[in-house]
Structure formats: structure tokens, C-alpha cells
């Protein structure tokens, strides 16, 4: 007599039947639970739909039009996108954005990691130092840009005056391309290091001291412990910060807008400042929407990378 399973299907029948369809018994109350879950999710989906998906669809429609925002736009298909291909300022802005991302992301993460490691040790006044590093997080991007102007103004800025006191000629922070680019990088790294440090600090505190103890007993010195214990175990944190920083860097706007305005001669123009100028100053809103969609494309690529990697990249002790 074959033994009946919980589903009521005899085990022998399961063994001999070709590819049986498994059907799970519905727990009593499961339907109500599912309904409740959908009920809880519905407000989020409604808000997501209204405030994200609907505007996104609207922006896609706008990107297919030639419009200044007033009246009905003229449908031009993919003309705005093909126009991007021949737009030198767009490519320069894209290049600047990629360069900015390539410098700012590793720089802020490396600094954040080093400071986090330092402040994770027994250090006098550790709390004060942590607070000081985190403090820029409390400052808005616009305020950071304004602080940057006070520092980097090449006539009356603090930095050139300090350099002057030690006999160094003033640096052309605002009128030459490379120094101007350096100003936005430095201001952003200063602003963002506190955040990366905070996340790394949380990651470091999740690593058990027994691992370091074991490594020490095995004869590993400080550098080897950092390289072979700390860095691998911070892998998920590093990956999370990497993706977050890349997406953020592609969206940089406020610091550049306030600090350099995209100048001199487009040297610090990035995708979002270019889209802003195009949409709100030139009022070429269809073209600005197309620039925005290119930006969205990059953000989605990195988000997809994060999603795929987060499924497999779970490093634990």
C-alpha cells in the first residue's frame, strides 16, 4: 500500500509518474494573507506609479517631441536622440561625467575606507573625529558649492590667499579647464567621503575580532591583515558603495551648477547641468528629456549590475 503524502498523492505514483506537476496545499488563511500583503503593497505601487512611472512615461513622450513646454509639441520621433549624436557639447558633457565618475568614485571610497579603518581602532577622541568626517553629509550640495566658491575663487578665495602666503602663484581655479575640473572633484570628494566612511565603518564593525586574532597568530602583519581579511570581507560593502557612487556621480548637478556653472568654456559641463540648461534656460524641453533618458539608461545599467551581483555576491565570515 503506497504511503500517502501530505498532498494525498501516493509516493509510488510520484516516483513512477513522468514529471508530475507539484501542487502545494494552500494553508488555511493563505489567501487572506496574500490579500493583506497586496493591500500593504498597493499604496507603495500606487505612489510609485503616480510619481515615478507616470512622469517617466510622460518624459519619454516629451523626448519624442520638439517642444518648449507651451502648447502641443511637434512629434519628431527619434530626432532628438539622433541629434545627440552630432552634438559636441553633449559628448563633452558625457565625457566630463564619465571622467568625474572615474575619479570621484574610487577617490571617495578609498579615502572613506582608510579613514574608517583608522577610526575603527582605539583612537583618542574617536567620536569627535567620526563626527567631523560625517559632518559634510549634513551640508546640502548647493551649500557645498557655495563653500567651494569661497575656497576656490581665484581672486579672493581662501586657497589662493593661503598659497600666496607661502610664495606660490595664484592658481587659475575658475578660468582654466583642468583646475576648474579639479575644484568640482575636490569639493565632491570632501562632501562624499563622510558617507563612504560611515558605510565602511558599519561594515568593519560586522567583522569579528577573532578573524584578526587568528591572522595575527598566523603571523600576518597589519598590511596583510588589511589585505587578506578586511578587504575581502568588505567586498559586499565596497560593491554597494561602488554602484551607489557611480549612479550618484552620473547624476551630479548642484555642486557643478553652483561652483563652476559648467565653465570655463564647457570644461566642467556634465550631463545634468547640460540637460538643465537645455530644458529650463533654452526651453528646448524635448531635447532635454532625451538627454535625461540617456542618463536614465546609464543609471539602469548600473542598477541592473547591482541587482545581478547582489544575488551571488554574499561574502560571509
Amino acid at each position: 500500500m503506497p504511503e500517502a503524502t501530505a498532498t494525498g498523492v501516493p509516493t509510488t505514483a510520484v516516483a513512477s509518474a513522468p514529471a508530475p506537476v507539484r501542487s502545494r496545499a494552500r494553508r488555511p488563511g493563505a489567501r487572506a494573507e496574500a490579500l493583506a500583503a497586496y493591500g500593504f503593497l498597493t499604496p507603495s505601487y500606487v505612489l510609485l506609479g503616480i510619481f515615478v512611472l507616470l512622469p517617466l512615461a510622460g518624459a519619454l513622450l516629451v523626448s519624442l517631441q520638439r517642444t518648449d513646454g507651451f502648447g502641443t509639441g511637434e512629434f519628431v520621433g527619434l530626432a532628438n536622440y539622433s541629434r545627440l549624436l552630432g552634438d559636441a557639447l553633449f559628448w563633452r558633457s558625457l565625457g566630463n561625467t564619465v571622467l568625474f565618475t572615474a575619479i570621484v568614485t574610487p577617490a571617495s571610497m578609498l579615502l572613506g575606507l582608510l579613514i574608517a579603518v583608522l577610526l575603527n581602532t582605539a583612537l583618542p577622541a574617536r567620536g569627535i573625529f567620526r563626527s567631523l568626517i560625517i559632518l559634510p553629509m549634513a551640508v546640502s550640495g548647493v551649500a557645498t558649492g557655495l563653500i567651494g566658491v569661497l575656497v576656490f575663487d581665484q581672486n579672493s578665495g581662501i586657497l589662493n590667499r593661503l598659497l600666496g602666503t607661502v610664495g606660490i602663484d595664484p592658481i587659475t581655479w575658475q578660468s582654466d579647464a583642468v583646475p576648474a575640473f579639479v575644484t568640482i572633484v575636490v569639493a565632491t570628494v570632501w562632501w562624499r567621503t563622510g558617507f563612504t566612511m560611515l558605510i565602511y565603518l558599519a561594515g568593519l564593525q560586522g567583522i569579528g575580532p577573532d578573524l584578526y586574532e587568528a591572522a595575527r597568530l598566523d603571523g600576518a602583519n597589519a598590511v596583510q591583515r588589511f589585505r587578506n581579511v578586511t578587504v575581502p570581507l568588505l567586498g559586499p560593502t565596497t560593491f554597494f558603495l561602488g554602484v551607489l557612487n557611480v549612479i550618484y556621480s552620473f547624476q551630479v548637478f548642484d555642486i557643478v551648477f553652483v561652483l563652476t556653472g559648467g565653465g570655463p568654456a564647457g570644461a566642467t559641463s556634465v550631463l545634468v547641468t547640460y540637460a538643465y540648461e537645455t530644458g529650463f534656460v533654452t526651453r528646448d524641453q524635448g531635447y532635454a528629456a532625451a538627454i535625461g533618458f540617456v542618463l536614465l539608461l546609464f543609471a539602469m545599467m548600473f542598477a541592473a549590475a547591482q541587482w545581478r551581483a547582489s544575488r551571488t555576491r554574499e561574502v560571509t565570515e
Binding site: I50, D68, G69, F70, G71, L89, G145, V149, D153, Q154, N155, S156, G164, P170, T172, W173, Q174, S175, D176, V258, L259, T260, G261, G262, G263, P264, A265, G266, E277, F280, V281, T282, R283, D284
Partner: protein, 434 residues
């Protein structure tokens, strides 16, 4: 009557039912009662300094007193968000009845059917009250789409201490004696030789949308950037090249600090206040700040002249939106605010120039450094109507980025004058659809 206590579930459902409309209303998804729909109430959106807002409030109070039952709701917003807000409201069909607009932005609204044509609503002879330049700034096609409220044009603020230290003591005191371009360059050379290290002769106020102030140099060269049809570019000319060459020489000759570019995040006035430059191109609106802030002996003189005198026509008009429910009342308010007394009071307190011919004379007074008011008034007098009409072009919002890009390349990138005006010409043609 019995009172029942609702169950937890009932309470949450009830709370949700109450909260959803409130949240949606807050987000603009439900139609709030439109102020413009209320009888005899106008909504008026503007930005402004404290003095300007006080002037508007005084004018509104006087208007409400003169028109019992009518009210004007003033909505003061920061300049930075003024036009993104207005654009969004126009696109959403919920704009204010009246708003304030710079002349260089006016055309973008008037040319796209967003403003009320005031012509049928104005009292006869209204045009005669204004200077021809000011009247030209609010025309579009055959209509009058606003009333010019005040103007502002750049003269030069002078740091007497620095000038004297560099040996320059003679400063033009009559518009006829304004420095020619050649004389200005000679003054620049003398200042360069006599000023302390790290100090430049002058700074020009063309940052951001102030790029339209570069057009003063074009007009001084007797040039134009648009033909009378406001479509055909005219900037690829001897006058255009001369204006680009002269302004580029500010950088190549070291007359201005290297960061006095169009894209600079530092305004020219900051360099003057910090005594990094001896002179700065500036509107009269800067006088109260200078009075409070400048710790040196200072005065004002006229902008230079090339082939002719010329200046930028800054300032703002007041306009009514096309779909206002009360066009007659809106026009009446605009007329009231631009009557002689309210305009005089507003301009005197805010150090701005009136647009009425009867006020723009030797009797012009400012609350601060009033002895300098005639200098700015005379400077405004050399602005010509055809110059103003170009700045009020419907395509100006698309022309401004072209000016910014190409002049920035000429100043910071050393692009030559011929290439610059050729690129300006093709860029302007693309902007106007020529």
C-alpha cells in the same frame, strides 16, 4: 444618540479615506479653489528685494483702496525658482493672473501666446507715458503684452581710492565726455601699471543671463544681432567683430581678472567689493549694497562709447497671463502700478530707473546716493529703441545660450573674433528658425 467606538480596522480605513484626498490635494492632484476664479481678486507672483517687495505691497494697498472690493494676492518667491514655477504653472493651466518678467525673457512668453494682449484694455494715450525704448520692450507682433515697470542699465562704479593711487583722477562727469573705447583701453593700461599686484583695472557684469549686457558693446559699435524682423541674424558684421575683439582684449590685455568670464560663478561686483578691481560695470540697483558694504571712497561714471553710446536695457515688465479670468482688472492694476506716483516711489526706494518719460529726468531721486541717479538716467538715455526690440525677441531664451557659449569660447578659449561672430550668426539663425 449613541456614540459607537470604531474597530481598529474601521479606524484605519477611515483614516485612509480622510488622508488620501488630503495627500493628493497637497500634491496638486485635486483642483484647489482657484484664486483667479474669485471675483475681483488677482494673484500676482514676483521676486524682489525687500525694498521692491515693500514697493509692490504699498502699490497693492493703494490699488485696493482706490478699487473697493478688489484684492491682489502677492506671492513673493526667490528669483532662482521664479520662472521654473511660472513655466510649470502655465503648462498646468494654473498660472497667476499677473507676474513680473525681465525684458529678455518677455519675448519667450509673449511670442508663444502665454500673455494677455493688453491693447484693447489700456486707456487711450497710455503709450505716451513711457519712453520709446521701454514701450518697444513690451511689444510683440501687433500687440502690447505687458507694461514696462522699471529699467536698469549698466554704468561704471569706480573705486576712487584705487584710481587715485594709480594716478587716474579724471573721471567723466557728462555723458558726452564718456570714455571712448580707445580712452578706456589707455586707462586700463595706466591702471595695470599703477595698481597693486593682483588687482585688475575692471570687471564686466556679464555672468549668467547677464550675458545680454555684452550686447551694450555691440550697440556701442553700432551693431545689431537681429534685423527688424527679429529673425535674421546681423551679428556677422564689422561691428560684431569689433565688439568681440574689444571685449576679448579685456582678457588678452589683462584688464579684467581671468575669472571674469561669462560662466564664472563669481559675480563681477564681488571683485569690486573686495577691491580686486578698480571699476565694475553695474546697474543702479547695486547702490544700496555699495553704500552699506564698500569701505572705500567710490562714485559712478558712464559706460564707454564706441561709434555711439549704448547700453543694456535691463529691468522688468509686468504682464498678465492670457487666460486670466479678469483681463480688465488685470490691465487696471498694471496701469495703476505704472502710474507716476507708484513708479516713482518704487524706483526711488529700490534704486531703479523709471520707464515713464516724465520721471526719467533731472528730478530723478534715489533714497541712497541720490547724486548718482542722473548718471544712470543719462546712461539709459543712450539706449535706442531698436536695441531694446532685439532683446525682447521671442527667441531670446534660445539666443542667450548661444551668446554664452560662443563668447565664453572667445574669452576663455581664445577663439578669434571672425569665428566667434560666424558661429554666433549660425547659432542665432538656428534659434530664430531663420
Amino acid at each position: 444618540m449613541s456614540l459607537t467606538i470604531p474597530s481598529r480596522r474601521g479606524f484605519l480605513l477611515g483614516l485612509g479615506a480622510v488622508a488620501v484626498p488630503v495627500v493628493l490635494a497637497g500634491c496638486g492632484f485635486t483642483q484647489q479653489s482657484s484664486p483667479s476664479g474669485r471675483t475681483d481678486t488677482l494673484t500676482f507672483t514676483t521676486w524682489g528685494t525687500d525694498a521692491e517687495l515693500a514697493g509692490f505691497r504699498a502699490a497693492i494697498a493703494a490699488f485696493e483702496e482706490a478699487n473697493p472690493g478688489s484684492t491682489v494676492e502677492l506671492n513673493a518667491v526667490p528669483y532662482e525658482q521664479m520662472f521654473t514655477n511660472i513655466d510649470a504653472q502655465l503648462q498646468a493651466g494654473n498660472p497667476p493672473d499677473i507676474f513680473r518678467v525681465p525684458y529678455y525673457t518677455f519675448g519667450a512668453y509673449a511670442g508663444r501666446g502665454q500673455l494677455l494682449d493688453l491693447s484693447p484694455h489700456l486707456t487711450s494715450g497710455r503709450q505716451d507715458a513711457f519712453t520709446p525704448q521701454a514701450w518697444a520692450a513690451v511689444q510683440n507682433g501687433e500687440g502690447t503684452y505687458g507694461l514696462p515697470h522699471h529699467t536698469d542699465t549698466s554704468a561704471i562704479l569706480v573705486n576712487r581710492d584705487l584710481m587715485t593711487a594709480a594716478g587716474v583722477t579724471e573721471i567723466p562727469e557728462r555723458i558726452e565726455d564718456a570714455w571712448t573705447w580707445e580712452e578706456l583701453a589707455a586707462i586700463g593700461d595706466r591702471l595695470k601699471a599703477g595698481l597693486p599686484a593682483g588687482t585688475s583695472p575692471w570687471a564686466y557684469n556679464w555672468q549668467g543671463n547677464g550675458v545680454t549686457r555684452w550686447l551694450s558693446l555691440l550697440f556701442q559699435a553700432d551693431g545689431a544681432f537681429l534685423d527688424a524682423d527679429q529673425v535674421t541674424p546681423l551679428i556677422d558684421s564689422d561691428a560684431g567683430r569689433a565688439a568681440v575683439e574689444f571685449s576679448s582684449s579685456f582678457f588678452s590685455s589683462g584688464y579684467v581678472p581671468a575669472n571674469n568670464t561669462i560662466a564664472s560663478s563669481s559675480y563681477a561686483s564681488e571683485s569690486w567689493f573686495s577691491q580686486s578691481v578698480a571699476m565694475v560695470w553695474s546697474g543702479a540697483f547695486q547702490l544700496p549694497d555699495a553704500q552699506d558694504t564698500a569701505s572705500f571712497d567710490w562714485t559712478a561714471t558712464y559706460a564707454p562709447r564706441g561709434v555711439r553710446g549704448g547700453g543694456d536695457f535691463g529691468g522688468n515688465a509686468l504682464v498678465a497671463t492670457a487666460d486670466t479670468a479678469q483681463p480688465e482688472l488685470a490691465a487696471a492694476f498694471l496701469e495703476f502700478v505704472t502710474d507716476a506716483d507708484p513708479m516713482r516711489d518704487f524706483c526711488r526706494a529700490a534704486s531703479l530707473l523709471p520707464t515713464r518719460g516724465d520721471l526719467l529726468n533731472d528730478d530723478l531721486e534715489f533714497d541712497v546716493r541720490s547724486e548718482l541717479a542722473p548718471i544712470f538716467a543719462a546712461q539709459a538715455g543712450v539706449v535706442q529703441a531698436q536695441d531694446v526690440a532685439q532683446v525682447a525677441s521671442p527667441s531670446m531664451s534660445a539666443i542667450i545660450p548661444v551668446l554664452k557659449e560662443q563668447l565664453d569660447l572667445a574669452f576663455a578659449g581664445s577663439q578669434d573674433a571672425a569665428t566667434t561672430v560666424a558661429n554666433l550668426s549660425s547659432g542665432i539663425a538656428a534659434a530664430t528658425g531663420a
